[in-house]
């Protein structure tokens, strides 16, 4: 029931998103739109690995940057004409990012999850430094991908629709994963990795596959970004803030849920751009953005989507209670009465 409403709401949102360039073709909106769509898929991809498995990665910028450089280097080396054909490189760039994820994951995924957070940051900086130091990346001068000669008012539209297509692919991919046994295993790893291993789950391979799929999608996002901006530099393609941004968006919307990262990115990217435009003078926007986060974390610690779910449930229970005051609301939760009924609290704390 709830699920069906969710799908309905999202169908409407996606149809609206698809129509944005038609309804409001202003380049400002479509440009914010392109970034928003890229972040929606990147946040979903982040959630698809980190949210499902509990391994918080702050190094997804590696894949974004790899995708950005892959598209640019290939387009330049193949002397591609500045046209829409370059969009065909987007999946290829994603693939290269996915390949990069294998050695990355091989090192990072064998450590405990606390350490994983930090090692992803460390590996991220290795990549950024390599981009500075290698010659095929153009070093610190960066590279300029071919720029199509399209007119200003509709220039953004092709980028918008490619980013939209990637988003649709991403949503279907991670929606499918959530329903697959693979997704179940990722979630089991999040709750108790050792136990999952003990039950025959191929833990390392499952994590690796999640990581690689996440990298694939993120790499495609980076490729679109590079082509759209028309330039790749080490410090903007391998942007340390990228990793934390997708994580924040996911937490904001609700980690581990399908809708959470989508909603988080859909709200936060435009809000951030809007705040920057409005309050950038004097860094006020930093303060507002930070405060907004604290509010959400304190009052909706699980993110928007689960909190909305909680409210719905709360309202439903209240309505039910008012209708029939006979049953106590708790009835469903506690079944077998049990002397040590409150022990679980302790065990959760231990894990």
């Amino acid at each position: 029931m709830v699920r069906r409403i969710g799908i309905g709401v999202w169908s409407v949102i996606f149809v609206l998103l698809a129509l944005v360039p038609v309804i409001e073709g202003n380049p400002t909106f479509t440009s914010i739109g392109v970034f928003t769509l890229i972040f929606m898929s990147s946040a979903s991809a982040w959630n698809g690995f980190s949210g499902y498995s509990g391994y918080i990665s702050l190094g997804n910028g590696v894949f974004y940057g790899t995708g950005a450089y892959a598209l640019t280097v290939i387009a330049l080396d193949a002397h591609m004409a500045p046209s829409g054909d370059i969009f065909w490189l987007v999946p290829l760039a994603g693939l290269i990012a996915a390949i990069i994820a294998v050695p990355f994951g091989f090192i990072a995924l064998r450590v405990r999850r606390h350490t994983f957070v930090v090692i992803t940051i460390a590996i991220f900086f290795v990549f950024q430094l390599l981009a500075y130091n290698f010659s095929f990346t153009g070093g610190s001068a960066g590279l300029l991908p071919p720029t199509p000669n399209w007119v200003g008012n509709t220039y953004n539209d092709p980028f918008y629709y490619v980013a939209f297509a990637v988003l649709v692919f991403t949503v279907l991919l991670f929606w499918g994963i959530r329903r697959s046994r693979f997704g179940l295993h990722l979630l089991a790893i999040r709750d108790d990795e050792d136990r999952a291993r003990g039950l025959g789950v191929k833990v390392l391979r499952i994590k690796m596959l999640g990581f690689v799929l996440s990298a694939f999608v993120t790499g495609m996002g980076g490729a679109i970004f590079a082509f759209f901006i028309g330039q790749v530099y080490p410090q903007y393609a391998f942007d340390p803030v990228f990793g934390i941004t997708v994580a924040l968006m996911t937490f904001f919307g609700g980690i581990g849920t399908i809708s959470g990262p989508l909603l988080g990115a859909l709200l936060l990217e435009p809000i951030e751009q809007y705040l920057t435009i409005q309050y950038s003078v004097g860094s006020l926007y930093l303060i507002i953005y930070g405060a907004l986060f604290l509010l959400v974390i304190l009052f909706m610690p699980r993110g928007l989507v689960p909190t909305i779910g909680d409210w719905r449930r709360f309202v439903r229970v209240h309505l039910a209670q008012r209708r029939e005051k006979v049953l106590p609301a708790k009835g469903d939760a506690v079944v077998g009465d049990d002397v040590a009924g409150d022990v679980p609290a302790v065990t959760t704390g231990m894990q």
């Binding site: 606390h114 350490t115 940051i121 130091n133 930093l286 604290l294 974390i297 304190l298």
Partner: protein
């Protein structure tokens, strides 16, 4: 070469001090405070203000800035961190402290502007010759200060009742609370101490580098790396890792190329972690059973 090693050890001591706060906080609270970098910068700015407006010596000023940051730390812990649930604690703590980081960065930008600042005093620019190399007083004083504070921290941890509670909480929060340790209070004070040490670190950092609020971003990534290399929760590890990191970087920078120094260090980190995932001095993860 020798110079690289000495420089590395001296600056490493200061980084160790800043990182020890981070690792202590992690050990006790399972919280990763990405605000540590901005606290360092905040400490540096406070030292600057005291020096510039009241003429208070940088080292004397620590008697004001250390308590000030202790209070800031306690406030942050009390207002935000203690409200986090056990589940997703690490991830949520990163978010909360990142938000704190943004807010403080914004405030500092407004108060001090975006120009680079540096702290000045006679010992910042004068130096002494030892073994044929010049060593600046600030590096020596800074190292001594860091060593002194680390020693004090050690005494507190291993020779006091409070320290025993802290260590108990680091071993196992639940078990500690079962044997009567007030884990909440210990956490608050630990976060205060972990933040307070950044006042000293920030003063030295500000005297040896010029800085603005944005410098915090570079700082935090390095501190995190030190803490992981040393082993999360291990103060000795933080010390060893900080010195190792700075020595490797400095030596590679001198004998080969500064451009690759950081890469070499990060590769060393990756190598260490693939062999020893818990870091140099990290405890093996205690299993639930």
């Amino acid at each position: 070469m020798l110079l690289g090693i000495i420089d590395g050890i001296l600056t490493g001591g200061v980084y160790a001090l800043m990182a020890s706060g981070l690792t202590l906080i992690f050990g006790v609270m399972e919280v990763i405070s990405v605000a540590q970098g901005i606290f360092v910068i905040l400490g540096a700015y406070l030292s600057y203000s005291l020096e510039a407006h009241f003429g208070i010596d940088l080292f004397l000023g620590l008697f004001i800035t250390i308590p000030a940051l202790f209070i800031v730390g306690i406030a942050v812990e009390w207002a935000f961190l203690r409200r986090l649930k056990a589940q997703e604690r690490i991830a949520m703590s990163i978010l909360v402290t990142y938000a704190v980081f943004l807010i403080i960065e914004g405030v500092l930008n407004i108060v001090y502007g975006t120009n680079y600042f540096a702290l000045h005093a006679w010992y910042v620019t004068q130096s002494v010759e030892l073994f044929g190399v010049y060593l600046s007083y600030i590096y020596i004083f800074g190292f001594l200060l860091a060593a002194g504070l680390l020693a004090a921290l050690y005494v507190v941890l291993y020779r006091t009742r409070f320290g025993a509670s802290v260590r108990a909480a680091m071993q196992d929060r639940t078990a500690a609370s079962l044997v009567g340790v007030d884990v909440r209070r210990v956490s608050t004070i630990t976060f205060g101490i972990g933040t307070a040490v950044t006042a000293a670190g920030g003063m030295i950092y500000g005297a040896t580098n010029s800085f603005n609020a944005n410098s915090a971003e570079d700082l935090i990534s390095r501190l995190l790396v030190i803490v992981v290399l040393g082993g999360l929760g291990s103060i000795g590890g933080a010390l060893a890792a900080a010195v190792l990191m700075l020595v490797i970087e400095d030596v590679v920078a001198v004998v080969w190329s500064p451009d690759w120094a950081t890469v070499i260090f990060f590769l060393a980190l990756v190598a260490v972690l693939s062999i020893r995932p818990v870091g140099l001095f990290g405890r093996q993860a205690a299993r639930a059973q």
